[in-house]
Symmetry: D2
Subunit: 147 residues, 4 copies
Amino acid sequence: MDRPLSSSAERRIRESFSRQGFMKKLGARIVSLGAGTCELAVDFDESLTQQHGYFHAGVTATIADNACGYAAYSLMPENSTVLTTEFKINLLAPATGPRLVARGRVIKPGRTLVIAQADVFSVSGAGETLVATMLATEICLKDKEDR
Amino acid sequence: MDRPLSSSAERRIRESFSRQGFMKKLGARIVSLGAGTCELAVDFDESLTQQHGYFHAGVTATIADNACGYAAYSLMPENSTVLTTEFKINLLAPATGPRLVARGRVIKPGRTLVIAQADVFSVSGAGETLVATMLATEICLKDKEDR
Amino acid sequence: MDRPLSSSAERRIRESFSRQGFMKKLGARIVSLGAGTCELAVDFDESLTQQHGYFHAGVTATIADNACGYAAYSLMPENSTVLTTEFKINLLAPATGPRLVARGRVIKPGRTLVIAQADVFSVSGAGETLVATMLATEICLKDKEDR
Amino acid sequence: MDRPLSSSAERRIRESFSRQGFMKKLGARIVSLGAGTCELAVDFDESLTQQHGYFHAGVTATIADNACGYAAYSLMPENSTVLTTEFKINLLAPATGPRLVARGRVIKPGRTLVIAQADVFSVSGAGETLVATMLATEICLKDKEDR
């Protein structure tokens, strides 16, 4: 269950998300936000596939990266911006449709570095399957605008 | 310098690449292929950006992942297919345009697992800047079609 | 809570552990074993430190690696052995004494590759602090003795 | 070829290394230091093994981590200290004796974060074999003593 987020932090994240042209291109959306958590989703489309017809690992990594980044950003001060410095992803099962959901959470907050983890699930009427997990390092850049 | 690739291996990789809907969506293309190497490129577009206007880390990761995957696939037998099982990427500098180039190479071949590394460069008239590096594990699935 | 382990699997793991000269050198011990889980511990000693007097990251990584490896091995068939192919560790806080505990669990079993995660805690009378987390890939080598 | 290091930076690294109890325990030593590079070595001993009699992955990771850390530290200012925040290692081949050598180099310097890579080789009279490669993030803590 998400811990509630201040309205200013929520607005800051939604504005940042909306400035990411790549989110629009993927059709990705914010499902929920909390203090230290972020859930994103993207629907299956032929234009998001790898050679076997599953979601491309790049799509899985992209939404996991953003779920980690915004989970971290939710804990950062006003007038700061966030960048991913590194991530590692293990691809556990084919990422099938109709929907991919990434759930990010902060596992270690910090003033400069924030460590987050995201699990990515393939979601269908039949339930959820874990398809990937990511460990990421996010850096807080202070006194810098997020644009 | 790339070591030459057999024409059948080259055809196999190009066909696999062309079946990836996500490559088309990104406008990514194969620059060169060799035995154990693969270079891919993608041009800057507003639709590929993160919130500061650089290439999204997801784009950087996607082409690095594919450069590793096809570098590995170039050494795999006919009638096999390739999957990425995990990768780690360090993002070293802002990924600016006008072009992003990923150069993948096999650092350890193997019958089941192939380990590859890719460096990603931001390329402009002024030269090249290293913006990311990836270490990836690719698995060879034998007697399985790449579609 | 650990799921119970067959006595033959438990014997196999304990014998493997006892053949690792490095475990003896570190003074590491098995705290508990289950089907898909493994907990290891090591006590603080001056000979295990980095330059600031904390446990060296190499010690943290070693017991996390083994906790992942034996969690994975617990699910592998008789007459097989296990090797780590890669791992990634995020160091979250100084690893202080008096004791370091690594708790490994399988997050994705598989016939060839098993993915595991380990959390490492600094344990004292005052409680536990998460000091590191690891994601690892373990490979099952069939028809091969674990020695 | 190593770029030369100032004598004060070299002294700072050698003192830091000598304060690491774990280096003494492993019998590890500095082979060479440069500006942005560090080479370490450790000799085979039964007390450093995993269950098959090779060097334990924890030993490989430890010297690779230190080679990255001191390569990074060589570029950091006086009156600072270094910590590893994360690393990823791919284990490529059995780490056999009689000697293991880790060669670290900075791939991206920075004021706060320094990214380094280390290759680890098994060295014998017959030559060298690459047995592992690591990508690591090092953080510079300013105005903090390295003890």
